[in-house]
């Protein structure tokens, strides 16, 4: 299962819900305002950090660039481009978008 989150974790609870439902071995892709959760020093980063043991975390590069956050990405988070986004969708048997 690929979980996709697009809302800021300091404004909505969709990241919390996604992480609560993400089983071991699943993947989480952060896009749009959700990418802030993958940046160093954010209170939301602690949640992402602790989820990393069981879940591979990805963040969409163009969304990080647009927010000036590319240089602040947490270690262990894989940054993907739009092609990588498509690959993730095809590699997993299902997707859940936490809108």
């Amino acid at each position: 299962m690929l979980h996709i989150v697009n809302k800021s974790a300091t404004e909505r609870n969709s990241l919390d819900s996604a992480l609560r439902m993400a089983t071991k071995g699943s993947a989480l892709l952060l896009i749009e305002d959700a990418v802030y959760a993958a940046t160093k020093g954010s209170v939301a980063a602690e949640k992402v950090q602790s989820a990393m043991a069981d879940v591979q975390i990805y963040a969409l590069g163009p969304d990080l660039d647009a927010r000036g956050m590319s240089a602040r990405v947490l270690d262990g988070v894989k940054v993907v481009d739009y092609g990588g986004f498509v690959d993730l969708v095809t590699e997993h048997n299902s997707c859940q978008s936490w809108l």
Binding site: Y36, S70, A71
Partner: protein, 133 residues
């Protein structure tokens, strides 16, 4: 706003009120940040006492080093630098909001005054008009 315009038309000088624009949204996920900035620029034409404050995710609006080419939207972060040219020089950021996001003044594209939450609350309380995005 209509009272304000009437005052200006009748008296010439007009009444100057304290306006605060509160920005609480990250820049690109919604249209609020860009539209809020547009309203502030328009407000400059009315010669009012304008303050712009950034709290919660609003502090992300001021991050420097932005490149929006990949998502193909306007990079309006540089517009905050133009505010000074419109005599909008009162920019305030709440410290707790920056701390919660691992940010410091050095990460911001414009000079701001950093306030603690009590100072921000008092500033907000002394306004005539507060408009929030």
């Amino acid at each position: 706003m209509s009272d304000m315009m009437d005052d200006m038309e009748e008296g010439g000088e007009g009444v100057v009120k304290k306006f605060m624009f509160v920005n609480r949204k990250a820049p690109h996920g919604t249209i609020y940040a860009l539209e809020g900035l547009e309203v502030v620029l328009i407000s400059a034409a009315f010669d009012q006492d304008v303050s712009m404050v950034f709290v919660d995710d609003g502090v992300y609006e001021l991050i420097k080093g932005v490149n929006t080419k990949g998502i193909e939207v306007k990079d309006f972060s540089k517009t905050y630098r133009a505010l000074e040219g419109y005599d909008i020089e009162k920019l305030y950021v709440e410290k707790a909001s920056m701390d919660a996001r691992g940010l410091t003044e050095d990460d911001l594209i414009v000079d701001v005054t950093v306030l603690d939450s009590n100072e921000m609350a008092n500033l907000m309380a002394e306004q005539d008009v507060v408009i929030s995005y």
